[in-house]
Amino acid sequence: MAGGPSKEMLAEIASRPGRDTLISSAVKYVFIALSLGFLAALLFAPLATVFITALSKGWEMYFESFKDEDTLAAIKLTLTVAAIVVPTNTIFGIAAAWAIAKFEFRGKSFLITLIDLPIAVSPVISGLVYVLLFGAQGWFGLWLQERDISIIFAVPGIVLATMFVTFPYVARELIPLMQQLGNDEEEAAITLGAGGLMTFFHVTLPKIRWGLVYGVILCNARAMGEFGAVSVVSGHVRGLTTTMPLHVEILYNEYNFVGAFAVASLLTLLAVLTLIIKSLVEMKRK
């Protein structure tokens, strides 16, 4: 959907009467100029800063940054966390979108708002709530301590905080889309005797595929990039509980700007990886 117009479509549009006027091309160029200008100042310039600093001492130093043991541990931890959080939240997102988009029930707006809530919660608070629950002074603190289970200042805490922060993304992407698409085709499939799962996989999924991909991409990007909430529950133990964003901060604070921005650049590349895969799939289909 967000993939943009196809060649045929563009050609067809161009051939329509009244399309190719002076004003419409003026509007087009003004829009493109505004978009590029805005993005250049706000997005490309900071991104360029990241990459230029990362490469300021040459490619060799850039790759050297990734040989550090703690950096590797941070990359591993971030990938592990994303590997747990993204699938879990995807399943939740699909289930929630099915319940909310396909059925009418009371309190629906309330439920949607609760799903949105983690976006609005300050990352500091997202971390704090888990400290209040599982910290030594927290609700379950004593119980956990007696059983020698660590949740905060260990990997489970990081997973939970990340899950909290990235909770809404898949659901948020799917709900409006599925509402827009309506129930007719699914109802037809069920009437014709298809089972629930079969209907979902053969009727619904193909229609929501790209929306789902976008949701997963956003969820994944946020999961890998989350800093504030994770910083509260991590304990900052080098090589053990530092994720990539935390490691970036550590390196930056050590005046190792090349290393810090190298890790940051890798993070951005990881996040677009999913996007690149999506583009490849799209291209193949054509």
């Binding site: 879990t88 910290g135 030594a136 603190g141 020698d148 200042f153 133990v237 080098r238 053990l240």
Partner: protein, 358 residues
């Protein structure tokens, strides 16, 4: 299908929870929870200590490090971060671990020599190369057109030392070098006048601050990289490191006539070492800080060593200046915190807030 996947996820979570604690057999790990400016010091110190311990006890030891702001590190320990030893910026933070977390004895600061601070530092000025604004001493900081960078004392331990150094320096000018006057009833009026002056000075000082970063390293970056401000108030060790890392051609150090003796304390966290059975090694670790190799490493990383012989060897790096302590001037951290940094206390009042409290 959903259910089975959820179960699998929950299972994975439990598994991960399991890896959180526990050590590998035959190998001891120690967690040192510290504050930001000690990263470079402890990286080298840990190696040195591991070698020494292995030689003496035929046991491998891995020391894990955690660094962040001193206050948030104390909070993490209170909330259950299993630190065997803490090496923080202020005694107040370890006091909090004691009072709020009950994780070590109340007498912790008496257990090791020199207030449990194996190394010290002080607060100095970092200025632009050539000192274009001719900053020499504390009064110069509040001249017109001078802007000063210091972090926020509410979030940074280093910034509290900055604030107290400024305050104490004014008292030193007003009252002379005899700190006993502060408790002398005969000098009461002079003291009150001096305190008033100090308050006014600090108030003026923060009017010259354009940016309050949340930590010491952030402030250094603002000053050096972004070229904001004419003076950076900084730990001596941070200033020396900044010159080395960020360019001796950009900035230089100015030593004021008097400043505060900053004593970053260290302590063993009793409840953790007793549970994990690491008391012996944790205590040896801290003691090693006081021994000559430890002291040498401290000096190498720009902390002033306590050992006189070691200090003598590095005296070019640590010029003499008049130093006062927090106990002499402010009567310890607890009183200081309540009077200056608590909610609605002096620092808040400087920024015109907190009038509602107390």
């Amino acid at each position: 299908m959903n259910r089975r996947r959820t179960l699998a996820c929950l299972g994975l979570l439990t598994l991960l929870a399991g890896c959180g604690g526990g050590d590998d057999a035959g190998r001891v790990t120690l967690l040192n929870v510290s504050y930001d400016p000690t990263r470079e010091l402890y990286r080298e110190f840990n190696e040195s200590f591991s070698q020494r311990w292995e030689q003496e006890h035929q046991q491998r030891v891995t020391i894990k490090q955690s660094h962040a702001g001193s206050g948030s590190q104390a909070r993490a320990v209170i909330d259950g971060l299993d630190a065997d030893v803490v090496t923080l910026a202020l005694a107040y933070d370890i006091d909090s671990i004691q009072t709020k977390g009950k994780r070590l004895g109340a007498d912790w600061q008496k257990r090791l020599p020199d207030n449990s601070s194996p190394y010290t530092s002080t607060i100095v000025f970092l200025v632009r190369k050539g000192n274009p604004k001719q900053i020499k001493d504390w009064p110069d900081l509040i001249r017109d057109g001078v802007s000063v960078v210091t972090p926020n004392p509410k979030t940074s331990g280093g910034a509290r030392w900055n604030y107290l150094a400024a305050w104490g320096a004014v008292l030193r000018t007003e009252l002379g070098n005899d700190w006993t006057k502060l408790d002398d009833p005969a000098a009461e009026q002079a003291v009150a006048a001096a305190q008033k002056k100090a308050e006014e000075y600090v108030r003026q000082l923060y009017k010259h601050v354009p940016v309050l970063d949340s930590g010491a390293r952030g402030a250094t970056n603002t000053f050096v990289q972004r070229e904001i401000g004419d003076v950076l108030l900084a730990w001596e060790n941070e200033a020396l490191l900044a010159i080395k890392e960020l360019g001796p051609d950009k900035v230089e150090i100015v030593i004021p006539s008097s400043s505060i003796l900053a004593e970053p304390p260290v302590a063993v966290v009793d409840t953790v070492v007793d549970r994990r059975g690491t008391r012996q090694i944790a205590e040896a670790y801290l003691k090693y800080l006081y021994e000559e190799p430890g002291q040498e490493l401290a000096a190498k990383h720009y902390f002033r060593p306590r050992n006189v012989a070691v200090l003598e060897r590095h005296k070019d790096q640590f010029p003499a200046l008049e130093l006062f302590t927090i106990d002499q001037v402010f009567g310890g951290w607890k009183a200081t915190h309540e009077q200056h940094f608590a909610d609605g206390a002096l620092f808040d009042r400087i920024y015109g807030s907190g009038s509602a409290a107390k």
